[in-house]
Symmetry: D2
Subunit: 328 residues, 4 copies
């Protein structure tokens, strides 16, 4: 793979951080070096690109980071990059460093920015899906989703201990933006009595029916997992409404929050990040551009940004069906 | 240790659950059997005592529970037990089962109830301190505190990953009721920039000074750990007030909540619970009553309920001093 | 799904235990009940079947087990079941309880036994792949593999801490019988310098070359992950041979052993086990028999025992290629 | 605390690494800077001291390390330092950097070296006890012991899952050199049937009696925890001898090994390390030298090296008594 036109590759992380981003950075850097290219890290995403905050990365500089949460390149959101002037500034900084190709690790907001940059300046670019939300079409899994779901499940397990000891009803809110992936899978794995997700229209009345079904059901401990994108209210709101309708339950709420974004990545996220990092660089060298690299049915695939941005990664209906059977 | 007057010991958990309660139950049961006594589990604390929900426990029935969070005997708060009639009903149920001594595992609310029962009916009783709050005088450590603090620290570690990636300011609220123990120690261990606890009067202005000290300090990521008993506002309120005073920070809040109550206990809590469980039964057999068993400077001690109820377990001033030195 | 011929389903675990087996048992029991069948648990696999150690399971009896390692039904290997007399005894016990269909959770040894029972007595049976080894064709993943690989990676992470502090060379042996799955994926995720698996013929000389390549390489810390099925020697043997050839390295060995079999299952294994448990019962009710249920490209599939027993689940060559690029 | 004679403090780690060493380094550095001293890190213990491998450390250079296992200063054993010539070379390197006081983090081997250096060259030095073995008199706890014991317990919990599923007898060997601390406490916390430690002379016959007591005892799963310093043989040897005497048991062995040295430290080890780090620097500034700083009954204490080296940290007899009561 001796693409002579590309000598220097820039890599950066953008948008919300996700466990496994460091494993992806490591893979991009080492693959670049493996193919005798130089690799540069751009700090704080588009912000650092505009400010020219760019550092050279060697094989050793990404040693001992595969197991770390967060991103050593840091990440930020940049308003200025949404303007043509901002992107021009960024491009000039890339040129100054001699960077002639880009690998971005982030979510669909990040891809949109990169799409413009590619169109406007013709610089080859490949994106790696890094977000805990698993909300990107074009890949079965995004980097960080496996870890975040396990983090949610570990928290649910702890809450179950106390719920069972007190016969309490818990509403647990998990992340995922507009996607129900984390909620559905942490809900099944956590043995939730109900799972509330944006993709499915469970009415508040359905929830009340479910909770009050069966003689003495209020005496049991129950966990309800609520996706943050829920259309019928978040965990706090739902708990309040249930409490108003019935003084029968001892109700508590936990909003898991940002701890879902951190932590040492699982093997799955590390291996996924490693594979996608290798494939991103090899894609660049083979002439891919304006694409996201993903994994479908265990195979590497490249999809155009157009086919990904603003499309929905649909939830697996079979999972929803199973959740209902098993919560009897 | 052949106290012939005591043949049957009742054990129960009461108040908020804490990791290690099962290890304490196991120790009480096995020590009772070791001294050839019968042991009975009373379900859901004083509620089960009043309802007569009592089961015999054998050495095997507490097998494979030492590692489990929560309490197999469940716990509850009972209004009825606060009345003399309620306590009479409870006492009659104990008599019916032939239970002639009690071991309670819980916090100071639970001890108060037991104190009345002992006074009114003369039944020997020893308490074991089981609460994550470490808010009991008469013992260096309560069962569950070590585990809860580690749970808080693990969550803080995860949040640090994302804080560092985004240069964010996080307010993290931890449990502890009116005690700052979990906050101080998870704050030191989590490398917090500031720790807000009920025992110390840091004003909101002090906090603002600390946050804005030094050129460019707003660019750093920072973690502030807030005890739920904070007198200057909880994490959510403090974050709001800081945001109002300065648009300089990217601020997020996480209220860890009930996940701090669950989880598999640490070795420390299991060993502590084992020692206190053995000592509670041996105390009963040696004639101790109306006391809490505790550990002070690695030695078993018995203190009267009177000396414990409504007294404060003071925070270690040295820890506060150290927290300040290390957050520079 | 109203298969009137099947009224009682027996479920058991067999062979080596794997994390997630309890989640599979729970799914089988609840799905059976959902379709208004009775479900019975057969203790200790074929051993309990021969001894008639069979218990009725209700929806509640599998509550609070989804998060537990091991198997509540226990498991064993049975010599007697390999004889026709043994199997007849087992079948008669099933008949006595009115059990007219079987779901087995285990590895390919277990399937062989079931295959004979089905052939000889015509009792419908479906297998669920439960083994940490991921060595079964007919499914992308077996229950327990995800958890075991994460357990291995967590151990490797801990060993890396001490390896880096001392500039040591560690040989770490992981499980997997004749399969290199755990080794390859924990090796990539653990950032191993080399991965020795049964499927690939790396000679001892290749290993020496790799270890001694580059000036001063002996000064670096390095981790070598060795699958227990390695054809050039296990971790202990390889370490000894390297030490004999060079006094240059500070070498240590860790054989992870049976801790890889236990622990609370990951979300992935719990969801996988839940899906396969539902699909096994639904398969039985739709007339499937003599098959293993699996998951291929995220879809449920049924494959005949014949197509599975004694076939090899091939290792992903792409993973091996990536491991080499990233260990530079 | 304005000791004008001391301007530059050197800090290093020595001997086996232990979780929490980084927290101690951080505390030494930040406390030094707090008192307006300069702090230098000496790499790889006495080896780096002899080679002059010394780096300046600032408050930020120890940021984000409190949670990391291992030691950023690395550690090694040095033969040369045992000679007077070696120590002279080391001292000259310290002088060259203007280092006029030392803080060492390590075990008693490390203290011996420092004792000579102080005697020979008069350089003030304080030691911090950092070893997982908890084998130092003069402190209730050494840094790393709490984490290592929890690591051992987590491994034992996993092994219990598989032991219970198979009714197996497991011999689990834990670290501790000549000390039984990790074994006793992980054994109690892990619910072990027996605990074999160097301090107590349980004969092999006693062990056989214990294992074979009671009808059908061989059918139960059992865990035996063996300290590596066991006088009647390690786990592998004991398992072999038991197997020879009885074909009744299904026996397995796990030697936990070096994973006990790594991992993120618990809150306890981080707080302990922070307190000892602060106290070491403050001790130095107050004129302490040739001492180890420790914690006794929650208070900071300084003890001369003489009183520590070659003395034994005795095991708590009460713990042994409790282990026996609870394993019935």
């Amino acid at each position: 793979m001796t693409n002579e036109k590309i000598k220097r590759i820039g890599v950066f992380t953008s948008g919300g951080d996700a466990p496994g981003m460091n494993a992806a950075i490591r893979a991009v850097v080492r693959t670049g070096i493996y193919y005798q290219k130089e690799v540069f890290g751009i700090m704080r995403g588009y912000e650092g690109m505009i400010e020219g905050d760019i550092v050279k990365l060697g094989a050793r500089s990404v040693g001992n980071i595969i197991q770390r949460g967060g991103t050593i390149l840091k990440t930020a959101r940049s308003k200025e990059f949404r303007t043509k002037e901002g992107r021009l500034k960024a491009y000039n900084n890339l040129k100054k460093e001699g960077i002639d190709a880009l690998v971005a690790i982030g979510g669909d907001g990040s891809f949109t920015g990169l799409h413009y940059l590619t169109e406007e300046f013709g610089i080859p670019a490949v994106c790696i899906p890094g977000t805990i939300d698993n909300d990107l079409t074009g890949t079965d899994y995004t980097i960080g989703y496996d870890t975040a779901t396990n983090t949610a499940v570990e928290a649910i397990d702890k809450i179950r201990d106390t719920a069972l000891s007190h016969n309490r009803l818990f509403f647990i809110e998990v992340m995922g933006r507009n996607s129900g992936y984390i909620a559905v899978n942490s809900g099944i794995a956590g043995g939730a009595a109900a799972i509330i997700i944006p993709e499915e229209t469970m009415s508040f009345e359905n929830l009340m029916t479910l909770l009050t079904a069966g003689e003495g059901s209020s005496k049991k401990s129950n966990l309800i997992v609520v996706a943050e994108g829920s259309k019928i209210g978040g965990a706090t709101e739902l708990a309040k409404k249930v409490a108003e309708r019935s003084d029968y339950f001892d109700i508590k709420v936990t909003v898991l929050g940002h701890l879902q974004r951190g932590g040492s990545p699982t093997y799955f996220d590390r291996v996924l990040a490693s594979k996608l990092g290798v494939a991103a660089v090899e894609g660049i060298l083979k002439g891919q551009t304006d694409v996201m690299v993903g994994i479908r049915n265990s195979k590497i695939v490249y999809n155009s940004f157009d086919s990904i941005i603003n499309h929905v990664h649909e939830i697996d209906q079979e999972s929803l069906r199973i959740a209902k059977i098993l919560s009897i």
